[in-house]
């Protein structure tokens, strides 16, 4: 089989996986956002949409709501203001939805799959180091990279396409023939370009450390050394902030600014067009989460899981090793990558439901006056630290490598503790009622106070 064909088939499979993931996530996130906010706010949340089979109602913990919403969106009136620019008005949602999907093209969701010889390698272990050889003979198959678009300027691709999302929001605002939309569009444009600068500069530190523009190599570097969040903690915060701002979510949801400019650039959109913006936004959330994961949270890397299997180690001391077949490793990586992305989305939803929104000038100041200089400082500090590291002795470098393993351990232990905490929490009964009794006892009427004279 010709290698090009294999690559093509593999690409289609990967596209299917990514599209499936993204579209599912968009729906699930809608549900998550609503249900999670309900839990935060002591509400029940959506739980009514159901499927009736016989006399039984299946609500699937509210998961049917996004489906119902999508179906409803199809059948709602599609409204275009009479004086609106019809072409641009229609183009905007398409752009807003398509651009973030395209962004997923360079996100590595697994390590390179060495297909070279299916019968031998896929079920066997592969060596931990080294890359897959290119297809050399007619019978061997080419390696399949962990991303759809295998280009060496992944970051540039992302920044290039991210601009399209901005265009979507801006022309939506511009073409709607509505002042609120216009304000929203302007806000969106200003905000997105401002934070794109901060975002672009905040990841320069990462490039300096990882020495590549390819996201899969970045992920691989993190797997071999340690996660980006530990080498670029400051950059991580900057990037996270900028990423939330780019997704236009509270506290950065000014372009929509529900209570100020009604719904910003979305005012004149209804039905499916609105739903497309909505979906686009959640896809953006997924994309920004994948970027956070790929850049700072080790991408598809699982602590101590390497290409050859699990190797528990501390510095040079290898504690335990278990070889795993290549396919299993890859599958684990895919799962863990999607898991991490989901986790980051989940965390971002908390941010949205905790903080109020910025004001326009505060937002711009934060971007230009704080994040931009801070990211420049980050570049500078990273540069110094890297040079210092490169110039230092082998012992120091070994110490740092050991420290890297230590971080791996930290992550592992933290995850395990988190999972155990949740598991333990789940088996113990809730404390609501007993606590309420306590409160009542504590806060009962104070002892009969003397009748005091009024204060004046």
């Amino acid at each position: 089989m010709r290698p090009e064909l294999v690559t093509l088939i593999a690409a289609i499979v990967k596209i299917a996986i990514i599209l499936g993931f993204v579209m599912t996530m968009a729906a699930v996130l809608v549900w998550m956002e609503r249900r999670q906010s309900a839990m935060i706010q002591d509400r029940i949340g959506p739980h009514r949409a159901d499927i009736k089979i016989g006399n039984k109602r299946f609500t699937l913990i509210g998961l049917l709501h996004p489906i119902a919403d999508a179906m409803k969106s199809f059948f709602k009136e599609d409204f275009i203001p009479p004086k609106a620019d019809k072409l641009l008005h229609s183009l905007a949602p398409i752009l807003s939805m398509a651009a973030p999907i395209m962004l997923m093209g360079v996100v590595p969701f697994m390590d390179t799959l060495c297909l070279q010889s299916v019968r031998q390698n896929l079920w066997a272990e592969v060596p931990r180091f080294g890359t897959c050889a290119a297809a050399s003979t007619a019978t061997t198959l080419p390696p399949i990279s962990g991303q759809i678009v295998d280009i060496n300027v992944g970051i540039l691709y992302i920044f290039g396409l991210a601009g399209m999302g901005i265009v979507g929001a801006t022309i939506a605002g511009w073409s709607s023939d509505n002042k609120f939309s216009l304000l929203g569009g302007l806000r969106a444009a200003s905000q997105l370009v401002s934070y794109e600068v901060a975002m672009g500069l905040s990841i320069v530190g990462c490039m300096m450390v990882y020495g590549t523009l390819r996201l899969d190599e970045m992920a691989r570097w993190q797997g071999e050394n340690t996660w980006g969040i530990f080498v670029q903690p400051f950059g991580f915060l900057l990037f996270l902030t900028a990423a939330i701002a780019e997704t236009k979510r509270t506290p950065f949801d000014l372009p929509e600014g529900e209570s100020e400019i009604v719904a910003g650039y979305l005012v004149e959109y209804s039905g499916m067009k609105f739903a497309m913006f909505y979906t686009g936004e959640y896809i953006e959330l997924v994309v920004s989460s994948t970027l956070v994961v790929a850049l700072y949270l080790g991408g598809f890397h699982v602590p101590f899981l390497h290409r050859d299997g699990i190797t528990l180690a501390m510095g040079d001391a290898m504690l335990w090793h278990k070889g795993l077949p290549h396919l299993v490793v890859i599958a684990l990586q895919v799962l863990i990558f999607f898991g991490k992305v989901t986790f980051i989305c989940w965390a971002q939803i908390f941010i949205r439901w905790t903080v109020p929104r910025f004001r326009y000038d505060q937002l711009m100041k934060l971007g230009w006056r704080m994040l931009l200089p801070a990211s420049l400082v980050n570049i500078f500090l990273t540069g110094i630290a890297l040079i210092a590291f490169d110039r230092s002795g082998l012992a120091t470098q070994d110490t740092f490598r050991t420290l890297g393993d230590g971080f791996n351990w930290l992550v592992l232990i933290a995850s395990v503790v988190f999972v155990l905490w949740i598991a333990f929490g789940m088996v113990t009964p809730s404390k609501f009622l007993s606590r309420r009794e306590e409160q009542l006892a504590r806060r009962s009427l104070p002892a009969k106070a003397k009748a005091e004279a009024p204060a004046h």
């Binding site: 002042k179 529900e258 000038d361």
Partner: protein, 404 residues
């Protein structure tokens, strides 16, 4: 194009921009209570605002002139609809002042208590809405939960959550529930818990503070020029509170503080309301201790107060009294008085004219939030579009009260 030296006086080279005129309201998410603001903005900055009210005008004063005195109470419910009980009591007290009736001791305590419970619901709504419109939805819903506790209590007492129509001239519609104090003892801690949580999540959050501080500030002198009263006036540092300045009901005997602010900005208004809720809880606790459990609620005024139902069913005298009150309404002696209470937004006054018949000749309501709203253009000019939201929120414009 002439070349410009960009270091010369900037006014010469600034491009002239036209203000954009946008309608905020009547149906705008931040304009709770239906109000229209025509805003001239330059970019995001507000150049001028014209506030237009009246979208909720129901002709309160005209409607009052066609029913009996007691039929005014349902209308007063709808004045300040987040603290209707204060409006109810305020009107009842004004007419009682006109008629020269004194209500029994127990009724005074009961009214004090209900007023403060209502104040709690008023400030919970206002502060919650301020937070919500700034994007902090979670504390808003927590506060709504607290308000729901308050409403539950009021529902048990009066029979309706919002439109109580509970006060009557010369008393209350019904005596307090037997288990009223016990219920309050459960509800008040729950409300306090929520207030604590709101403090934790909001009061140190810089985004929230930045949105409130220094925005919509007004000086004492200007606040007085605009006739402000209530929490908004107190936020500028003037400790004028009707409950203290002219104690009515039982406020003269109660121990509570008047929270005042210093800068008169949104933050101060928010904090004054927050502190007032705590003081309200303090007052409620004192009322619970000191309110007698036995005693009459209605004044002894046969032509004004309905007789006990049992008398109506069995005796002709009771029936006659009942019919006289129902058919002709309470006959209030001719005259005119101005009565006032401390409402949720400040001095809530009624100017009442009677011509001696069972129907009010003129009922005028002094709506405190109109005074505050009137100063709104002054407060917001020069700020940004987004500042309309917290400033308008902290003004606490209540449509029913503002437009009557």
């Amino acid at each position: 194009m002439e070349p410009h030296d960009y270091d010369i006086d900037e006014d010469d080279v600034t491009l002239p921009t036209e203000p954009m005129r946008i309608n905020m309201g009547p149906s705008h998410p931040a304009m709770h209570g239906t109000i229209r603001m025509i805003v001239d903005v330059d970019g995001e900055a507000i150049r001028n605002v014209d506030v237009q009210i009246g979208f909720l005008h129901r002709g309160f004063e005209k409607m009052c002139e066609r029913g009996t005195w007691n039929q005014v109470f349902p209308y007063t419910d709808r004045l300040n609809y987040v603290s209707p009980m204060i409006c109810n009591i305020g009107f009842a007290m004004t007419v009682e002042k006109l008629a020269g009736i004194t209500v029994p001791e127990r009724c005074l305590w009961y009214r004090t208590l209900l007023s403060e419970v209502s104040r709690l619901s008023d400030h919970l709504t206002c502060n919650g809405a301020v937070a919500m419109e700034l994007g902090a939805f979670t504390p808003f819903l927590w506060m709504m939960k607290a308000r729901d506790h308050v409403y539950d209590f009021l529902e048990e007492e009066t029979g309706a959550r919002v439109t109580h129509s509970f006060a009557r001239i010369g008393g209350m519609a019904k005596p307090p529930n037997a288990e009223m104090k016990q219920r309050l003892e459960e509800i008040i801690p729950a409300v306090e818990d929520i207030l604590d949580e709101v403090e934790k999540i909001l009061f140190k959050n810089r985004i929230f503070l930045d949105r409130l501080q220094g925005v919509g500030a007004i000086t004492q002198a200007e606040a007085l020029q605009y006739g402000w009263t209530g929490p908004t006036l107190r936020s500028t540092g003037v400790a004028y509170d009707v409950r203290r300045a002219h104690p009515y009901l039982k406020y003269g005997e109660l121990d509570f503080d008047i929270p005042v602010g210093t800068d008169g900005d949104n933050y101060d208004r928010f904090m004054v309301r927050h502190e007032e809720m705590k003081q309200a809880i303090r007052i409620i606790r004192q009322c619970m201790q000191r309110m007698p459990d036995e005693g009459p609620i209605d004044a002894d005024a046969p032509g004004i107060v309905l007789p006990p139902k049992q008398q109506v069913y069995t005796t002709i005298e009771g029936t006659i009294q009942h019919f006289k009150v129902i058919m002709e309404g309470a006959k209030i002696p001719a005259g005119e008085v101005y009565g006032y209470v401390e409402g949720g937004n400040g001095e809530f006054g009624f100017f009442v004219v009677s011509d001696g018949t069972g129907t009010p000749y003129r009922v005028r309501c002094r709506p405190p939030c109109v005074f505050t709203l009137q100063a709104f253009p002054r407060m917001i000019r020069g700020h940004m579009i987004a500042d309309i939201v917290p400033t308008f929120g902290s003004v606490n414009m209540i449509g029913g009260e503002c437009d009557r």
